[in-house]
Amino acid sequence: MNNYKNFELKDWVEDPGFRRWVYRGEDDAYWTSVLKNTPLQAENIEQAREILLMVRGEADEIPEQELASRKANILDYISQETQIRSWWRRSWLQVAAVLLLTMGFGGYYYKRHSQPPYNAVLAQSGSRIIEIVNTNEAVKLVTLPDGSSVILKKAAKISYPASFATDKREVVMLGEAFFEVQKNPEQPFFIYAGEMLTQVTGTSFSIKANAADKQVQLVVKTGVVDISVIRAGNEAGNRHVILNPNQLVTLDRNSSQLAKKDVDEPVLIGLPIESQYFKFKKTPVKDVFLALEQAYGVHIHFDKQVTSRCNITAKLGDEPIREKMQMICEVIGAKFEMQDNAIAVFSNGCDITD
């Protein structure tokens, strides 16, 4: 035991461990035994405890659910800001640095491969073009106007119109990303990545298209993907392939050749979601949400206590995150709101019979 025997009132008040016990009940067994073993300190301890409680006053906390929605509001607001302002609103020094870097890499790239004029492609849609770059280490989820999910790795970027054309959905991307495309046969989805054009109707896959790499790669997780080469070279060869799940295609930028091969697992860019099939059997909903948070890099706010009895048995496949959330919330009878990377779940709890 410590030198508590010589403690004075002030020493008790000043002891951080003692305060944590008074305020939060931490290490209760320890402090109860201290109290028992130093009977002469009982008055000091009681006095210190009472003083500390007076100092705090009423313990008033905002309920978890309200806190979650307040936080969602904040994150919602700032992520909109970030998207709209993009990078040009930063101080000019930073912009200069970005330009220099782009010229550094881009200049090299342009010399070797003249990239198709992508902005022209998007401009056809006639709507404002949104460009999102993930500047963080953590992955960034982008939800496209049609509800499709795109998970960007660090330095990956994607450009898309604020609203898609009626007959097709077109996006331009560079870097490493995982796509879950909303199913819609009426409105095929096109991805321009380097010289590779990918066409799908609804499926999931990863793309690796780094500006500095000599090749562009894509691996299919679910569904069927149609790949073609945009820049028509002189060399004869394979310019068009159709990929099924667990197939990988490599486009060689120098020769413009496409090569297809089978893989055991559709893992290309090292994201957990590439090999995750979201199969749940009587899984507590908090674990389901944790899996989604990790896969998509989102925040899900929910009341752990209220939902402590909610379990999920389901197989969630390649639907975008919004659809996955819809299914889960239907099962547990909850509502949710989603704004960019923040999701707030409102639940009244579940019956034990579930």
Binding site: R56, G57, D60, E61
Partner: protein, 208 residues
């Protein structure tokens, strides 16, 4: 009980790692995930602090929300900040007092003069307050005998675990003034406690 205390300890650990300078830098560089955690960890402590100044809970919550947006807005210029918690508390205090003063133009709010940052001597406050306390018949909570600013200093020190230096920054006081506030505050509260016990003993004596 076992499980409960373990989760508490874990939270405390996270809390410490959370205030590391690296973490703050990530926020300044625009890491939204890190920023979200800043909101998570600080909303309730800030809210509780806000209840020191006004019973208007909605106003406090709005002020905190605005504060976080303001921080995000100017994050790139905040890299020099060392004590994040103290910075948050100080900013909330300033914003809240400004808002309360604005409102009080339309309503009676004489108390807020106490928040004004004039370095009055705590000893003097102690003496004047002593007479107040004697004339006051209500003595249920001893803390109410102390001037508001002294209460605030004690609260920041013991409930929010801030250092004298941080408290001085938050309240716009000299470090020594904070030390005095706290020293005399504890003395007074002890006095009150003794007074209460004697009173109780006398009552029990009287009843018997």
């Amino acid at each position: 009980m076992e499980v409960l205390s373990r989760t508490c300890v874990k939270q405390a650990d996270n809390f410490n790692a959370f205030y590391s300078p690296e973490y703050w830098l990530q926020i300044c560089e625009g890491n939204i995930t890190a920023f979200g955690e800043l909101v998570d960890h600080n909303f309730n402590p800030l809210y509780h602090y806000g209840t020191r100044f006004t019973p208007d809970k909605g106003l406090i919550k709005d002020c905190i929300q605005d504060l976080f947006l303001e921080i995000w807005e100017k994050r790139a210029k905040l890299t020099h900040i060392v004590s994040i918690k103290a910075y948050l508390f100080q900013s909330l205090r300033n914003n809240l007092i400004t808002r309360i003063k604005k409102q009080s133009r339309f309503s009676d709010f004489s108390e807020n003069e106490e928040f004004a940052s004039q370095d009055d001597s705590p000893e003097l406050a102690w003496i004047t307050d002593e007479t107040d306390a004697l004339t006051s018949s209500r003595l249920e909570t001893g803390i109410e005998m102390l001037p508001k600013r002294q209460r605030e200093a004690l609260y920041l020190k013991y409930y929010q675990d801030l250092s004298n230096e941080e408290i001085a920054g938050i309240m716009g006081l000299q470090k020594q003034a904070v030390a005095n506030y706290i020293h005399y505050g504890i003395l007074k509260l002890r006095e009150y406690w003794k007074y209460k016990t004697i009173l109780l003993a006398m009552i029990i004596d009287y009843i018997n």
